[in-house]
Amino acid sequence: MRKILIIGATSAIAQAVAHRYAQQGHALFLTGRDPERVATIAADLRVRGAVQVESATLDANQIETHQTVLDHAITAMGSIDTVLIAHGVLNDQQTCQASVEDTLDAFQTNALSAIALLTLLANYMEHNAIKGTLAVISSVAGDRGRQSNYVYGAAKAAKSTFLAGLRNRLHSAGIHVLTIKPGFVDTPMTAHLKKGLLWAQPDDVAAGIVKSIEKRRDCVYLPGFWWLIMTIIRAIPESLFKRLTL
């Protein structure tokens, strides 16, 4: 049985992952900003068959509260061996371009808060010799900066690079670090965007995440075809890429 900590439990992808783990009878600790919503999700996971569901209120941007919440989670669960970091915000590129504050806020939410949590969690697992999993939702947007969303993309790139380093560091300790790069996912976060053929459902992405945790993969594109798309996008020479409208 896994003891799973989910940061950003109200995200649609996190909920879909939690459904699957609950149905398999694992134990979960949820965090999110809104206690009422987190409580609703906790109730759902109990009905679905989770052996234990605990929760705490956490705004990941309040970095000074991280240690307290993590200590609480570890005490409540006995230990934590699987972590899913799923919180994030799809910030508006235009707003960020016009405002230093908004750009830094986006970085705070999409990169720095996760980096802070991962630092604590990595040390916790290493010190306690837990050969667990740190799974983090990054994005295909982090693979290359594009004019339409480079603030979001740059924050996700920071996350991905941080994870690559962490994976390298923790490999010898037997700790699995998983970088998850979803493409377009049809969630409330993206409700305002026009949907096309490339869009995936949160439940399909969740299935990929659960499988990748099981198989201890390093970095996955979800759905898998994004690997091909991003390989092509990364291969375009910068001298040409800068002229494209992407």
Binding site: Q23, R37, T40, D44, V47, R48, P188, K195
Partner: protein, 441 residues
């Protein structure tokens, strides 16, 4: 990706603004100012326009898919309205619980099951879905959250069951499941010769069988009029799990829109004749999984595409006991005369009970469901003719399947609509509702 915000019959076409409702706070607070108001949208399994709000707002509740509480002693489940029946089946059948009522698809939401007060093969025993609902959490456009039950807000509770989404946004509902010992059914399929035989079989079977239904071969004429296969079944008694029959779920897909309907005189005749004679013996017994017993069509994703881009009409009516037999014969003769065959004909005798909802469809009598490719005026004229037969017989047409009944027919079939109107949320509306109420009669 197929277009999500359409009805199952893919007629009429409609365009919408979409608002995703994941939490009660997501409901826009100025709905009464919205042109055409708002309408909750579940999973688009109703056939006509009662799930559409052309030119207005749709409130998409698919992310309200959380189960809130389950009492393993009483079998009472409380869940959000966007939960699919398929999810409940997946989770609850292994624990020995089954929906008290299920229609012929499991891909509908709990909200949709309540809003259309759906029924199934066991109506003669257990009534409609609404009969098993204990409480509903309703969000009105003024922001009020009301609990509706047989004890609280009783009238609004009755209006919301079968209320086609117009009384407010159903946030959650509490309803009973029924205990089962396994996910299997003992089913008997009997080939029968005509309408009289059907009624004979039905009255013999309804006592001993919880689930009964007939599939009709609409090609039958003369003394074969109404011939078909009568299916009757019960939940299988205890079988040790090691001896459960094999169940391989195979999912097919209709991946493309054919440029025209694939249902025509030739394919219909071939299919119906083959199906009618598919079993050699007159009667055949089998122990089958609930997927094959209830949801054979769910095994083909997007089966509705077979009718091509113009879509199709489903026609379901109920005729009172006394006039039922004649009315059904008349409709079947009408199909034969028109040369517009129906691919799927279904016949069932309802139980003798009052439905729980103000606008509920089930009522004592027999119900006939048919579907027709949309051939424009020709098809509309035929269905209009059926409406006349149903009106004269004192029956009704099912709103969840309808895309074309006239305002005057609607008022005739549902004389209580005036009472219902007073419970409609001022911020809510639908294509169906405007169609049947806005014209002067």
């Amino acid at each position: 990706m197929t277009q999500r915000y359409q009805s199952w019959g893919r007629y009429p076409k409609a365009s919408h603004q979409i608002q995703t409702i994941q939490w009660p706070e997501d409901l826009p607070n100025d709905l009464t100012k919205q042109i055409h108001g708002a309408l909750p949208f579940g999973n688009g399994r109703s056939y006509g326009d009662c799930c559409l709000n052309d030119g207005g707002l749709l409130l998409d509740g698919r992310f309200r898919n959380r189960l809130l509480a389950f009492d393993a002693h009483s079998g009472i489940l409380r869940c959000e309205a966007g939960v699919l029946l398929a999810d409940i089946l997946e989770l609850m059948t292994p624990r020995g619980w089954f929906p008290a009522v299920t229609p012929g698809t499991k891909l509908l939401t709990v909200g949709g099951a309540i809003a259309n007060d759906v029924h199934g093969k066991n109506h003669h025993r257990t009534g409609s879905f609404g009969d098993h609902v204990h409480r509903i959490g309703l969000l009105r456009s003024d922001g009020q959250q009301l609990i509706c039950s047989p004890d609280e807000n009783t009238d609004l509770f009755r209006a919301t069951i079968g209320g086609i989404g117009l009384t407010g946004y159903i946030l959650w509902a509490e309803f009973s499941l029924r205990p089962i010992s396994n996910p299997y059914f003992d089913m008997e399929t009997i080939r029968y010769g005509n309408v009289e035989d059907f009624f004979q079989l039905s009255s013999e079977s309804d006592q001993d069988y919880e689930y009964t239904l007939a599939w009709l071969d609409c090609q039958g004429r003369g003394k074969n009029l109404g011939r078909g296969l009568f299916m009757r079944g019960n939940h299988a008694p205890f079988i040790p799990q090691a001896q459960w029959p094999k169940h391989a779920s195979r999912q097919l897909n209709m991946p493309i829109d054919p440029p025209f309907t694939l249902i025509n005189g030739l394919t219909l005749k071939a299919f119906n004749t083959l199906y009618y004679y598919k079993q050699i013996r007159r009667s055949q017994c089998a122990c089958v999984h609930y997927d094959s017993f209830f949801y054979p069509l769910d095994a083909i994703d997007n089966w509705n595409r077979i009718y091509g881009p113009k879509g199709f009409f489903q026609y379901q009516c109920v005729l009172p006991q006394e006039s039922g037999q004649d009315g059904i014969k008349e409709i079947l003769k009408g199909i034969a005369r028109s040369g517009q065959g129906s691919f799927l004909g279904v016949l069932k005798v309802f139980g003798d009970r009052q439905s729980p909802g103000l606008l509920s469809f089930p009522r004592p009598g027999s119900t006939l469901a048919l579907d027709f490719p949309n051939r424009g005026k020709k098809t509309l004229t035929l269905l209009e003719r059926f409406d006349t037969i149903v009106r004269e017989a004192g029956g009704a047409v099912y709103i969840a399947k309808d895309a074309r009944m006239s305002p005057s027919s609607f008022r005739h079939f549902y004389p209580q609509w005036q009472t219902f109107k007073s419970f409609v949320d001022p911020g809510f509306s639908s294509s169906f509702w405007r169609r049947v109420t806005e014209e002067s009669s």
